[in-house]
Amino acid sequence: MSRAIDKLPKGWSGLTSDFGSDQKTFKGMQWGKAMMWIFLLSDAFIFSCFLISYLTGRASTTVPWPDASVVFGLDVFGTSVPLLLIAIMTFILISSSGTMAIAVKYGYEKNRKLCAIFLLLTALGGVAFVGMQAFEWTKLIFHEGVRPWGNPFGAVQFGSFFFMITGFHGTHVTVGVIFLLIMARKTWRGDFEKGRRGYFTTMKSNYVAIEIMGLYWHFVDLVWVFIFAFFYLW
């Protein structure tokens, strides 16, 4: 099947011809997808502001920084395993990213039921992640006495950075779970086959919506990759 987009120049000459063309720059890309990318870029700006403030705050304090592998360690049958909960959370979030990618694939193949099932699996992973984060926060706040203005382990800034960064990320996961459930319902009901119009829009539904949802979810996973490296392992 020959598509109009396949006739456009590719690579770097495609870049110049796309930007030099009229009407639209991002050829072959549904506008909602382009807008999600732009939103994610702005979200990346916010998270990098957190990253900068955290790294500079940590590097410029004269007090020793709390040892993350001890603070986030978990006791399993009497032996303390460093970062165990965080490792499990990481594997869960990656798995939910995997199921999301598969849901997008089934969506474009118009496999309605499998797409909805994989969306639900993704949401389940998100719920498990947020649940474990709530457990971690409870442990830190009520059992270890970590506060935004101080903690028993070391530099006082630790608490404020921790709650701000993981809290903002957890909010993203929670919002993602809500939208995943909405999308799963729409998919199961067959909105994307029938082109049913959305609640807030007169435009017809399309399986592109699943890919847009996927972009958001993968971004949440992407942010966790950076948090895992810089906050927990550093």
Partner: protein
Amino acid sequence: MTQYNKKEVKTHKIGVYLWIWGLLFVFSFFSYMVDYLNFEGSLRWTLILFFMISKAALIMAIFMHLFWERYAIVNVLLWPMTLMLLFVWIMVAESEYTLLTRLFYFILGV
């Protein structure tokens, strides 16, 4: 406008995603091992950053389909992100100067 439209979107074999999923697991496991085995110093930072960048690249390229997108969107996204990382690096370098002035002030009182 419709001539560029969806409908005939190419999809990939499920194996591609399962492979990347597996690779992400392996990279995460190794980066966890860096902490578990108590690697110290520049070896630790290098390994952590290597696994972090590899995971981020796999997620963006394959899961988020950037590998198959046209260069227009890829360039619009990756250049600002590169500048952001550069900004992070600049500010971290600056914070070492802040630490130095603090140590001077706290210890020498000047």
